[in-house]
């Protein structure tokens, strides 16, 4: 019981965060606009969840300029990948136990 819950990560409780991690897990890195298109969420909503995931160390942020326009690229960190994988495993275990 304890083991399942250790892997059940509180940081992924929100659907949007789960979504961000899912998209970055297969694409490695993506810019803000592509993420917004994939997840169909508002700017503010996405930004706050991205910040939370960055604070947790699950994604890294790289800011640059493309044609003088600011471009922010989000990349999943190794720690983020591991936590996400464990979280999915925990979800599957919970479902299989029903």
């Amino acid at each position: 019981m304890k083991k399942v819950l250790e892997n059940f990560n509180k940081a992924f409780e929100s659907r949007v965060r789960l979504g961000i991690m899912s998209v970055l897990a297969v694409n490695r890195s993506m810019d803000f606009i592509s993420l917004r298109e994939a997840l169909e969420v508002t700017d503010g909503n996405l930004a706050s969840h991205l910040r939370a995931l960055e604070d947790a160390g699950f994604i890294s942020i790289e800011k640059s300029f493309i044609d003088r326009k600011p471009n922010t690229k989000y990349t999943i960190t190794e720690e983020g990948m591991d936590s996400f994988r464990h979280h999915i495993k925990a979800l599957e275990d919970l479902i299989n136990k029903q």
Partner: protein, 221 residues
């Protein structure tokens, strides 16, 4: 104690966890692959290619002896200029109409399933498709008057196959094998120069129709 409370909360939301897994799976697929590729457009491309091959055969038999039925005249001979021009126009029409059908039916399929057809993945898929395809087109035009005609015909199949393999990384998995089949057909075309047009009709026609039918039945659209 704390764990016990959390355990009760977590265990009492089975539907939510199942839903979470579904959302994860859907987002992983949709953000990494173009899922709206239409099978019908494959069938149409195949039919157009067969019509194009019949037209090519008529163009050739109109200008050279009947025993050369399936072989294409050599473009280096100025006497063949008109025939070669007509054959290239024929191929271009087939290509443009097939691509148009793919765009039309795929966006229709996307609309029906409530997906957005124009995403970053669509753009990456098209870039991977067009880089080998445009390279092939230029290669064919630049070597046209210097290589045997069946090499040109084989090149269309080989470069198209490579373009499909490259784009296949961003769309439904089976597309990869369509590309492999097209490349193989192109290589066979190199070995059997006297059957160029027939092999071209098999590669772009029959294989597309079979694939389109398979994809249509498997992915419903």
């Amino acid at each position: 104690m704390c764990y016990k409370v959390l355990y009760i909360i977590v265990m009492n939301q089975p539907d939510q966890h199942l839903e979470d897994i579904k959302v994860i799976k859907k987002l992983m697929e949709e953000s990494s692959r173009f899922l709206s590729l239409s099978g019908i457009s494959g069938i149409i491309a195949g039919l157009l290619a067969i019509a194009g091959a019949v037209a090519a055969k008529l163009i050739i038999t109109g200008s050279s002896p009947a025993e050369d039925w399936y072989a294409v005249p050599f473009a280096g001979d100025p006497a063949n200029n008109r025939t070669v021009f007509l054959l290239l126009a024929d191929m271009a029409v087939v290509l443009v109409l097939s691509f148009g059908a793919a765009v039309l039916f795929s966006s229709r399929k996307a609309r029906k399933s409530g997906r957005n057809a124009w995403t970053p993945i669509t753009r990456r898929m098209l870039a991977s498709l067009f880089i080998p395809l445009v390279t092939g087109g230029l290669f064919i035009l630049l070597t046209l008057s210097r290589v045997p005609a069946n090499v040109t015909v084989a090149s269309t199949l080989i470069f198209y196959g490579l373009a499909v393999i490259s784009a296949g990384k961003f769309t439904l998995g089976e597309i990869h094998w369509l590309g492999v089949l097209e490349v193989a057909t192109g290589l066979i075309c190199l070995m059997l120069p006297q059957w160029s047009i027939l092999i071209w009709a098999v590669g772009f026609g029959a294989i597309h129709i079979v694939y389109g039918l398979f994809m249509h039945l498997r992915y419903k659209g």
